[in-house]
């Protein structure tokens, strides 16, 4: 007997507990199964690329914090590197090392949020995310110590950093990286082998290698699918070539692999920070650059970093004036959403949330 059923259109978002901001999925359901999904975004659009063109190069630094607001240091670094490349500004050695330390700390913080909210989306009632936010809090404390604020750091400048780290920073950092692996083990103990989590995430939302590459995915999404592509190794910027670290990769490209890749990346970040602390030179942290206005020569530049979510690129066009003529931002969150439909269709509502959580987006970067 063929039963006549009607598809049900379900709006997931923009105000929904697990859309990580104001994302909206217009899902067509057949029972619980999603047969079509249409992502709708733009609810957080602030025109940040246009804002960059309206401001001087220096003035745009605080706004890069607002792109991917859980990894503001990485955005600072990406933008400053782009302008340094454009205007050929040298960066002192010590500043490079501190930048790497900050970027890696930020990667840990961002992944903690990503993994925590992913597990929360799987239905673990607040526990993993609260544990992980506790660890993130320690990192945020360190950032507050160096920059004075807890979320929008505005710490990096063209040609280095705004200020050197205070004296009490390095001992605290040492303590943190000594503690961190132990806490990571604890998180693994909490949910790594949990049968329910395995049932919910293994084999769910498989992103094949080919699709991942075709959709120009980057970051843990791509690595979860088994492509060992990490800009820190593939195109070493800053002083990353001096550190030893591995690129963790998944095998199947499912949600569980992406979760594991993030956890393993945190361990690698701890490794990098430890090496950077040992090699940290003494010296100035800011080269002689104008504080207010710089006028890079006319030209264009694309500079990218491996942000926690993938390749974060800044494309700047200069016409020789004090403000960029054009600023385009390649936000990894946005581009990682391209395969959303392929991954979600055919799964159930609950899986859609898990898959969406495993992509780890931040709406500030998607809508820009």
């Amino acid at each position: 007997m063929v039963m006549k059923t009607e598809p049900l259109v379900l709006n997931i978002g923009p105000a929904h507990p697990s859309t990580h901001g104001v994302f909206r999925m217009r899902a067509t359901l057949d029972g619980e199964v999603i047969i079509d999904v249409e992502p709708i975004f733009g609810y957080l659009h602030r025109g940040i690329e246009k804002l960059a063109e309206e401001r001087t190069y220096q003035q745009f630094i605080p706004l890069t914090d607002r792109l991917d607001y859980v990894s503001a240091m990485g955005n600072n670094m990406a933008y400053c590197m782009a302008v340094e490349k454009l205007a050929a500004i040298p960066v002192p050695e010590r500043a490079e090392y501190i930048r790497v330390i900050m970027a890696e700390l930020q990667r840990i913080a961002s992944h903690l949020i990503a993994v925590g909210s992913f597990l929360n989306d799987c239905g673990a009632f607040m526990t993993p995310i609260l544990y992980m936010v506790r660890e993130r809090e320690k990192i945020v404390d360190l950032f507050e110590m160096v920059s004075g604020q807890r979320l929008t750091y505005n710490y990096m400048r063209f040609g280095g950093l705004s200020q050197d780290v205070p004296d009490e920073f390095l001992p605290a950092l040492r303590k943190f990286i000594d503690q961190m692996p132990r806490y990571l083990d604890e998180y693994d103990q909490l949910l790594k082998e949990n049968e329910i989590l395995l049932a919910r995430t293994k084999g769910v939302g498989i992103l094949s290698k080919e699709t991942a590459i075709n959709c120009s995915m980057t970051g843990p999404m791509l690595r979860g699918s088994g492509v060992p592509w990490d800009l820190r190794k593939a195109d070493p910027y800053s002083v990353y070539s001096r550190f030893e670290f591995d690129i963790p990769c998944g095998a199947r490209g499912d949600s569980y692999d992406r979760y594991r890749v993030r956890v393993e990346e945190m361990r690698q970040s701890v490794r990098i920070i430890r090496q950077a602390m040992e090699q940290l030179p003494v010296g100035p942290v800011r080269s002689k650059t104008p504080v207010m206005l710089i006028r890079p020569p006319a030209g264009e530049v694309y500079s990218h970093v491996e942000s926690p979510k993938g390749e974060l690129g800044f494309y700047l066009v200069s016409d020789g004036s004090i403000a960029p003529y054009r600023c385009h931002i390649r936000g990894p969150s946005f581009i990682n959403l391209t395969a959303l439909r392929e991954m979600i269709v055919g799964w159930k509502v609950a899986d859609a949330i898990v898959i969406f959580g495993s992509i780890d987006i931040v709406m500030g970067e998607v809508d820009r």
């Binding site: 379900l10 799987c122 009632f125 919910r200 498989i206 055919g346």
Partner: protein
């Protein structure tokens, strides 16, 4: 069977007369008040306890502002909720929307009618108590379905569908797991079940499999985590009570915790010896045991993620259901073959059988389906 006279002194078995404190109506009134007080007080304590324990397990404090240790937080919440506007969504089925919280809450209260707080101390000592409990407790599903349907909201509808599906499938293993108990106790009356446990050992030792099945199935029936699919806040917002506010929402909230209380007391009664226990007064034993069970519920809620709807179904039909059936067969064989066997002998046998069955079934268990071709 061996009687543990030292552990369970004889004064506990004197029992109350069935019409204590005299006369049908007095009995009715007194016990109604006792049940209401018991349920409401314990529910409020449970809400506080859950929030505090969850808080501590999540490295935070939990409610601590209202009253000492935040004990009055639930009261404050109740006042807040009562003062809120009662919103009925546009296009809702008003009557169904109004009745749903009542239909969900009242059956939960009715279950306590047969709950023995002490030997013979129950509103009515039904000789078909187990059946009554099972029958009445599933009525609250109707309330949840009414809420889901009457709210005119897609999230609530999905939630209601999930609830009906899960309760219908979990009813079977739960009832089957109780059949083993009934075989051992030789009675369907809750008081007799407790009494036979007091005379031998708590049934959790004789029925480890039944305990597991009943506990997990019960968790699914009352929609506790990890089976809290119908309130899955990360998926369908707040589930069936998305569109509820004010006192109606409070009733749902109350019903949710009252169901948890029902499960805790039922587990305590069926498997942990109910009111039986040394030193403390029997009613306190019941509360202590229910509290311990509730702690496990909270503990599990703090730890595990949520299952998916198809995994919920497969878990019931392919894991709990066979386990419950096998348990029933094993118990029946034991009861028929060795009616006089010592519990000391049966306990290791049953635990071993349970462990082997769980491991065997685990190895052949496939949770849930996979991607559907669109």
């Amino acid at each position: 069977m061996v009687t543990f006279d030292l552990v369970f002194p004889a004064w506990q078995f004197k029992g109350l007369p069935p019409d204590w404190p005299g006369g049908f109506w007095w009995h009715f009134i007194v016990f109604s008040i006792i049940i209401l007080a018991f349920v409401l007080t314990l529910v409020i304590m449970f809400i506080w306890f859950e929030r505090r324990t969850l808080g501590r397990m999540q490295a935070r404090m939990g409610p601590n502002r209202v009253g000492p240790f935040g004990l009055l937080q639930a009261m404050a919440d109740a006042i807040k909720v009562m003062l809120k506007e009662d919103i009925v969504p546009n296009g809702a089925d008003k009557l169904v929307h109004l009745l749903a919280p009542l239909v969900a809450f009242v059956p939960v209260l009715m279950v306590f009618a047969v709950m023995p707080f002490q030997d013979g101390a129950a509103l009515v000592n039904l000789n078909i108590g187990v059946l009554y409990v099972m029958a009445v407790s599933s009525i609250s599903t109707l309330g949840i379905f009414m809420a889901g349907w009457g709210s005119n909201n897609k999230y609530t509808l999905i939630s209601a569908m999930r609830d009906v599906a899960s309760v219908v499938s979990y009813e079977i293993p739960v009832v089957l797991s109780l059949a083993g108990i009934v075989l051992l106790a030789g009675s369907l009356s809750l008081n007799d079940i407790v009494r036979s446990q007091a005379q031998s050992v708590p049934f959790v030792l004789l029925q480890p499999l039944g305990f597991i099945v009943f506990f997990l199935g019960g968790m699914a029936e009352i929609n506790r985590s990890p089976f809290d699919l119908l309130e899955a806040d990360s998926e369908i917002v707040a589930g069936f009570h998305t569109e509820y506010s004010g006192m109606k929402f409070a009733l749902f909230y109350l019903a949710e915790y009252a169901e948890a209380l029902v499960l805790s007391t039922l587990v305590a009664t069926f498997f942990l010896g109910g009111w039986g226990g040394p030193l403390l007064p029997p009613w306190l034993w019941l509360i202590v045991k229910s509290w311990a069970v509730f702690f496990v519920l909270v503990w599990i809620r703090a730890t595990v993620p949520r299952v998916r709807i198809d995994q919920l179904m497969t878990f019931s039909w392919k894991f709990l259901f066979p386990l419950a059936l096998l348990n029933l067969v094993v118990t029946a064989v034991e009861v028929v073959a060795w009616p006089e066997a010592l519990p000391v002998l049966l306990i290791p046998v049953n635990i071993a059988v349970g462990a082997v069955l769980v491991i065997l079934l685990s190895r052949n268990f496939k949770p849930g389906g996979s991607q559907v071709e669109a």
